[in-house]
Amino acid sequence: MKIEHEVKNGMDDIKMSDMTDQEIAELSTFIIKWRDRALHPPTENKFEEAEKIIRELCKVVKLEGNLKIVECQSPKHLATIHSKDSENPSKVQGTTLFNLMTDCVTLAVKEFVQSKGVELKSPVFDLFGKLADCVCAAYLTDDNTFYLMAFPTVLRFDDRIRFHSETGPAFLFPDGYGEYYHHGFKIDKRLVTEPESITLEEIRSETNAELKRIKIDRYGGGTNKGGGVAKYLRDSKAKVIDVDTHTHNGTRAVISIGEGRDEQRYLNVADPSSARIYYMEIPPATMTCQEADVWLAGDMQVAQVGRT
């Protein structure tokens, strides 16, 4: 393995190349360790200690001036304090100095190169490591204020480490701010907490492909309650019009739901990467999967060589 190491703007800049399989495996163990730290954060917030670390970091990176440091309980709380707009936490302008969820890989790389005998010149990564024990994140906003974010009290993921929960918020902060996700997609609370309220008509009129799929998945209370795709197909009296197996798109089917002028047809197909089943609406006159495929591709006459 080749390691290039220099200090830039007060921080260690490390580049690794030509890694052996053994070295990649070793790095993976550090990544898994830090990823697990991020997925299972401490329950206690240490704001005072985090403030001292931030002031030390500022000295190292020569960030001078009258800095304010503020504790906050959630992204929504930050938005309320900073811009008085609690509805738009994502619109707060600033820089993420540290975020345990994303910097866990940086911390893993730091430990890995140290295990290979590299001596880090800057204390920045050590300070990040200490910060990871104190708070979830530190943001520097455009008015020279550091916001220290409390650890979430709830974090739920699916087996591919995407935010997901079928029973409550996928993440929840101490002040009660949380968001709801279905296999990585942010959704309304109702789809998680009141899936019985999803109607066939609502699914029928949903134009967003992901939300349609999620509503079908959650229909009738979700799969855990005997709902989901099977119940949706039963209740909507779906009929199979055509089935085939495509080299790149796998098994697929044209299905028909409803009758007469209310009929809707769908190409029922799985995404090969995520194994999500999609219901792509197609013209009611479509008779075959191949016709549906060509229509969805905008009637191109091209050779499909792959799908990921």
Binding site: F185, A253, A270, P272, S273, G298, D299, M300
Partner: protein, 157 residues
């Protein structure tokens, strides 16, 4: 030969069973003219150049004659080839590869026409859910999947 007749529930089950369900990176080497690789709802169709020989077919934006494009200002281009409604960075040209591609907009583009990419050296188009795709040197027209609606619309995810 007897053909099995499936119910809609059975076919949904079979579709899921037959699906590999894991993202695989596609290194699309030696692409040929008018071949297409789909990354989720975005297709990459190899064409002759940024102005010549478009996409064959009878659909919107399909024509084989020459077409016109305008270069996209680097500052205006985020690297994202299709914006969705839900969260997540999808169909993104890897930041380290942005200098290896010239990006154009099609004049009179339909809702299904995306950027035109003139790839000078291999680039990686990343996606958090679908497999990443390596596009090699050549020109590619991005094409969006069609959504069933009264007007011509592309699928949004």
């Amino acid at each position: 030969m007897e053909t099995k007749v499936y119910t809609a529930e059975e076919i949904a089950e079979k579709i899921l069973q037959d699906c590999p369900g894991k993202p695989e990176t596609k290194d699309w080497q030696n692409p040929k003219m008018h071949e297409c690789h789909w990354q989720g709802d975005v297709g990459f169709v190899m064409v002759k150049s940024v102005t010549e020989n478009g996409i064959p077919g009878s659909g919107p934006g399909c024509e084989l004659r020459s077409y016109s494009t305008e270069a996209v200002n680097e500052k205006d281009f985020t690297g994202q080839l299709a914006e969705g409604e839900t969260l997540g960075a999808r169909h993104i040209i890897a930041p380290s590869d942005r200098s290896k591609v010239r990006v154009y907009r099609l004049t009179g583009a339909t809702a299904l026409d995306g950027y035109v990419l003139d790839v000078l050296a291999p680039i990686e188009v990343t996606h958090p859910e679908h497999g990443h795709v390596f596009l090699h040197e050549g020109t590619y027209r991005c094409r969006h999947q069609r959504m069933y609606a009264d007007e011509l619309r592309r699928v949004l995810d």
